[in-house]
């Protein structure tokens, strides 16, 4: 149950306190503590298979934590189900798009507005102003979109629930360099509007002038943390966190 809940509170603060957990008896994360301030972009960096995506799934309620707590807007959320978490303003954009391929583009967006249905038309107008390419493809089946368009649809769908915090899992994965730049340009525009972002990346290329803070995960633990400029300029520390 929520102890304290004020949806309109402008303090969109995520606190992850000493959480542990994983899949059944297999523990993936150990003693993770992370803060995301209002309007901040925080990146989770690290090699593949070290718990970054698992952490996002724990925040969005897909995987239970075994200890610790997750607090959003001063409310404990780790006992809530995904619907309640989306309703609080946390939107999870998963790795690999996961768009609804056999539905139209417009239906994908409407599905994203499931928790904000009464406001769907305003949200649609707002989202399409950010993604004009999708506007021309609204009535096409999502399966015929190109890789870049699918990624844009995934981002746009994530914005249809009017989020205060976006959890984004490897938005540049599998995209050509020019499309990666487009995706990050879009993410910067989203961030400028005051939406907090917790982003998972394996590569550091696009984080330099995007993320405010970086946490490096290694074997389910935080190996390194700090301001992005400090972390990305410290090649030795980064190498040691990655290679061990």
């Amino acid at each position: 149950m929520l102890e304290k809940f004020d949806k309109d509170n402008l303090d969109k603060h995520l606190q992850i306190k000493n959480i542990k957990g994983g899949y059944g008896e297999y523990s993936v994360l150990e003693d993770i503590t992370i803060d995301v301030q209002s309007g901040e972009v925080v990146a989770l960096l690290g090699p593949n298979g070290h718990g970054k995506s698992t952490l996002l799934k724990m925040i969005s309620g897909l995987i239970p934590i075994s200890s610790g707590e997750i607090i959003f807007n001063n409310s404990r959320i780790n006992d809530l189900n995904p619907s309640e978490i989306v309703n609080l303003g946390i939107s999870h954009i998963p790795q690999g798009d996961m768009i609804f391929s056999d539905m139209k583009v417009v239906e994908n967006l409407l599905a994203g507005a499931y928790m904000q249905w009464s406001d769907r038309e305003n949200l649609m107008t707002d989202v399409l102003s950010k993604f004009p390419n999708l506007k021309e493809r609204l009535n096409l089946p999502a399966r015929i979109l190109s890789g870049g368009e699918r990624r844009m649809l995934s981002l746009a769908r994530g914005l249809m629930c009017s989020p205060k915090l976006l959890l984004i899992d490897e938005p540049s994965l599998g995209l050509a360099p020019i499309l990666k730049e487009t995706v990050y340009k879009m993410l910067k525009e989203i961030s400028v509007q005051g939406i907090s972002i917790l982003i998972v990346e394996e590569k550091i290329d696009y984080l330099r002038d995007f993320a405010n803070k970086i946490y490096v995960l290694e074997s389910g633990r935080i190996a390194l943390k700090g301001k992005s400029s400090e972390i990305l300029n410290s090649k030795e520390a980064l190498l040691s966190a990655y290679v061990g």
């Binding site: 989306v86 996961m98 609804f100 391929s101 539905m103 499931y114």
Partner: protein, 298 residues
């Protein structure tokens, strides 16, 4: 009119009427398979129950057929919810890795139970539903009954309403999102358990109303659900498991094959030819008309 034209009119008439009923019946089956990978082998019993519920309202309360169909639809909605909460939700709760086989066995059990219950309550004797509209028109040698046209029109209206619901309403879009990717839908805040319950309730409503329509076309008998269920399975597989659009198109093709075989070779060859046709389709197009490679989702 020549023999060829007469046969053509008869085939077209039967295709439209049968195809529309098959479509309504098969969309019911396809909807829950697409949403929760549940092949409901009690579908035939749902059809038969629809006919009997309509008969009760028409026979004992003297309601006209269209109102009796409305009550059968409501009963099917409740029967679907009952099936979900009594049978499927507990199976989902167990999280069985053998979901497909567990639900098939459970639905066979449900079918046996329902058929026995119908036999116990209504007895083995044939029963007839009243016609909505009496009268007919003759084109060539084909007698076109107004009641059959009414049945076809009601089935088409049901498909239009279902399609509108699935493509425009909040619940319908969420239901299709769950059918497309249950994990992604969960991330949008769409509660899968609520969508599963909705899917089977709508499926039950479609099945019983299709059963009432069939009951007005043929006579009612407790064990008469098997043939239309087998036809619905052929339609769903042919259309592409879980694809509503494919199911509707396949229903009319199957309706045409059944009409053609019945009017040229003989009615007893309808199902054998249909299954032979399905085998050929599966060899050349394993996922049906609009189907995709299936992945486990529950």
């Amino acid at each position: 009119m020549g023999l060829f034209l007469n046969t053509l009119v008869a085939i077209a008439y039967t295709t439209v009427v049968l195809g529309s009923i098959f479509a309504a019946s098969s969309v019911s089956l396809s909807l829950i398979y697409g949403t929760m990978r549940f092949l409901n082998l009690a579908h035939g019993s749902f059809l038969v129950i629809g006919g009997y519920v309509a008969w009760v309202f028409a026979h004992y309360l003297g309601l006209p057929l269209y109102l009796a169909i409305v009550f059968a639809t409501g009963f099917g909605f409740a029967l679907g919810l009952f099936t979900y909460f009594i049978m499927l939700k507990p199976l989902l709760g167990i999280g069985s890795p053998k979901w497909d086989i567990a639900t098939i066995i459970a639905s066979v059990g449900l079918a046996i139970f329902l058929e026995a219950a119908i036999l116990l309550i209504f007895g083995p004797r044939l029963k007839a539903l009243p016609h909505a509209i009496e009268g007919s028109v003759i084109i060539g040698t084909t007698v076109i009954r107004y009641n059959a046209l009414f049945i076809g029109a009601v089935a088409i209206a049901m498909l239009v309403i279902t399609n509108w619901y699935l493509t425009n309403s909040r619940n319908g879009i969420a239901l299709r999102a769950v059918a497309s990717d249950v994990d992604a839908a969960y991330l949008m805040g769409i509660p899968s358990s609520k969508m599963f319950a909705s899917a089977i309730a709508i499926s039950g409503a479609l099945a019983t109303s299709a059963g009432a329509l069939l009951g007005s076309f043929y006579l009612l008998k407790p064990d008469r659900g098997l043939d239309p269920m087998m036809t619905a399975i052929v339609v769903v597989v042919f259309g592409g498991l879980g694809s509503i659009k494919g199911t509707i198109i396949a229903a009319y093709i199957v309706g045409f094959i059944q009409a053609f075989v019945a009017l040229t070779i003989g009615i007893k060859w309808s199902l054998p030819v249909l299954f032979a046709f399905m085998i050929v389709v599966l060899i050349f197009r394993p996922y049906g008309l609009y189907g995709e490679s299936q992945q486990k989702r529950i």
